[in-house]
Symmetry: C2
Subunit: 458 residues, 2 copies
């Protein structure tokens, strides 16, 4: 059966590309209000496509921001339900003068499709749409239940769409989410991202005297609020790079040997990374490699610090107050709300005498992790290996994709990140591109992927 | 002999006040270029006065800033030479609308002379000029050698005048400097300031990656420069408020029991001081009272701190660099140049791995202290006690008066700070005033003071 579908894919590649080009030509820049109409048109393109290939309940869903597209095909009783998530909005094109072709007039050159949204994310979403079309056209049905949910404001933070997910749990209920919005480590190194870190972000104010004081007339009498800022921060991390907050690591899910072995397949030499970012040497929690620390260990970063005099020369002042922004990236097992309480309590505890401290929890994001032995992960690995001939490495990322946390907390569904981008794709930059063969084989891979998903027992 | 001189003082008080008023009417605001001519006129007033009372070698001395006035009377062989220092420039009058009378039209009201420069410093300098006049007119000579040196840019930092001192060591050579530019603790509590702190001021840059990094993509991999800023600062002071730099206290001259007993006569309850400056509790080096810490112990104050994001909300950034300004007030025995080396070495030593640090020594000031058993101090105490009926308490100050360090290093001369101001004098503020009886008795005190100085054996 797959063979016929894959033949259909092969025979329709030129048309698929032409259809993608039509979609890419719509400048759906969600950040710029003057493109609001274009954003909606790009959503309507998805609506038409889903209707054309036989999806049901298809339509634009209004959110407090840009609308999302929804459509489903739910005629595989007993089979898993997969939510396909992606986004049809794109980044602004500035600096436009650095582009070598019109960002909204896609062209193929040297094996790459050039244009805004080619890799991030229309080109990757399109692999799913054309795979679904191919399966339905050839077989009349899908091997599993599929809900397509493509949002229009990912580049602006997904705010209204996340609220929509929370308010529409039944509509979006599923067993797993399939996302193609990530990339490979190199053209020879496909990867599947199975975990993303969360975040807890704080604003801390430290108050001293009720006015700035002269450091001669008062220096030595009182706790200087800026000295106190430093003491508080320094009291939160030890010389081994560990966060000193009691209980902070209690909920952290420890790395397995299998995970560490996977990471070693993709990690760069640490002196090379140090050179790339311009530091004398990498540094962090003892006992973990740089990539392990970034992907699988909580971090502790001061994001801003301020107070007193920062101009030219000298001012002999004791500032009335100072402050800092600090955040901790969280890993699987950690709950941002619990961390927020731990942080606040600890900062109040270590605040030195003579000043007052106010800790404000600005926001949090839940870390997400799909167990590496999840059958949905295996399904993704199988599909890529069967299509591209290489079994993908299982990796994590140090950053967050907030919508995956929403899917986890609201839908209780793991996100399977099967992406086809490359590091060199220039996403968010001029000359964004997407490898043509990855687009074409991505459609084939999608065909296999839904077959693999269908074989997961519920 | 003194009786006749003091009679002369009493008989001429009205004229003295009228002459002072003429001087106060000249708006010699050194900070404002439009008053440059007034500043010079105020200096010329001193020149005329010194010539009129019989001083020699009188004239304006040009500096790189405003001119200073010099004049001498050196006909007391074998007797000490006293340099009388003060300043004839004044602070700006802003906010002018808060004054209850014209700052440059002095008036007497409720026992105070109101006007800019009354207390800081024309009114206090005038006590010396009228005392010298009285002695010379009645006796035809002075009991000791006197050089008068009144500068015109004290309110702007004394820059050109300090250079003038350095370049004219022979002209200004003396055994002691008499300064009336300080105040009493209360109308019942005359004080003599015998020590001022010095200063070493630093600018510190901490460099991390060569660009701002995303805290998700890199957090945990590297030493965050802002975390490092905090770690460096925290490593410079321990929980007992002591500076941790090796050898830092080696040169500090320890307080004597006599000094501590003097301080106790003037110190306010610490909870009252805490309330006045708005902090929950005072804090500092263990084993010393607040006033002892401020006057007689080196302090360690971060004067400014910066780096990264300080706007509204959250930005998940690892800043490429951060920095801070830090200064230490120094006490007798400490050498700013030596401290500068200690600071630099220690900061480089405690700088955590993964970042680079650059320490810039911005400037220093030498601490000054006159031994409390100096006969010139005793002379000042005697003069005040004989005139006002109360023996002055010996105090220090936490701040610096840079010119006193210059007198010490360049002329090897101690500065005897015999002032007649009060805390309520509103110096640098609207409604500056000077107690009329302090002006009048200050002239009498000057008469006694030169007599006392004369009795100090060289």
């Amino acid at each position: 059966m797959n063979e016929k579908v894959l033949d259909y894919v092969k025979n329709n590649q030129d048309r698929f590309l032409a259809e993608l080009f039509d979609w890419l030509r719509i400048p759906s820049v969600s950040a710029l209000p003057e493109h609001n109409g274009d954003v909606r048109r790009a959503g309507e393109w998805v609506v038409s496509k889903l209707q054309a290939i036989g999806f049901e309940n298809v339509g634009l869903k209004e959110t407090t921001g840009h609308p999302a597209v929804y459509g489903d095909w739910l005629h595989a009783p007993g089979k898993p339900t997969i939510l396909v998530y992606g986004h049809y909005d794109v980044q602004p094109v500035d600096p436009i003068e650095k582009w070598h072709s019109n960002p909204f007039e896609p062209v193929v050159k040297d094996g790459f499709i050039y244009g805004r949204g080619t890799s991030d994310d229309k080109g990757q979403v399109a692999t799913h749409l054309f795979a679904l079309e191919s399966i339905l056209k050839v077989t009349g049905r899908l091997p599993c239940n599929v809900k397509v949910f493509i949002e229009g404001e990912e580049e602006g933070g997904t705010g209204g769409t996340a609220d929509f997910v929370t308010a529409n749990r039944d509509l979006l209920a599923c067993d797993a989410v399939a996302i193609s919005d990530t990339g490979w480590y190199s053209p020879d190194l496909p990867t599947i991202v199975y975990a993303l870190r969360g975040l807890a972000y704080f604003h801390v104010d430290v108050f001293g005297p009720d006015r700035d004081l002269h450091s001669g007339s008062y220096g030595g009498m009182l706790q200087n609020p800026l000295n106190a800022v430093a003491k508080i921060i320094a009291a939160l991390q030890d010389a081994d790079g560990r966060i000193t907050i009691p209980g902070y690591y209690d909920d952290v899910v420890e790395l397995t040997e299998l995970e560490r072995a996977e990471f070693r397949k993709v990690e760069s030499p640490e002196d090379q990374v140090a050179r790339e970012i311009g530091v004398p040497v990498l540094w962090g929690e003892k006992g973990f490699s740089a990539i392990e620390r970034n992907w699988a260990r909580p971090s502790f970063d001061v994001n801003g610090i301020w107070g007193g005099f920062s101009g030219e020369g000298a001012k002999t002042v004791i500032a009335a107050e100072g402050g800092f922004k600090v955040s901790s990236r969280l890993v699987a097992g950690q709950d941002p709300e619990k961390v927020a309480v731990q942080f606040k309590d600890h900062i109040e505890r270590v605040c030195p005498p003579g000043v007052r401290v106010k800790v404000t929890y600005l926001h949090g994001a839940t870390p997400v992790m799909v167990p590496v032995d999840s059958p949905f992960i295996t399904a993704g690995q199988n599909a890529i290996e069967k299509t591209f001939g290489k079994r993908p490495v299982l990796v994590r990322e140090g950053a967050s994709i907030p919508i995956t946390a929403t899917f986890l907390t609201e839908l209780k569904a793991p996100s399977i990140m099967v992406g086809y981008g490359l590091l060199e794709d220039n996403i968010h930059s001029p000359d964004e591109k997407f490898k043509l063969s990855h687009f074409q084989k991505g459609i084939e891979c999608g065909v296999v992927l839904y077959e693999e998903f269908a074989s997961v027992s519920r």
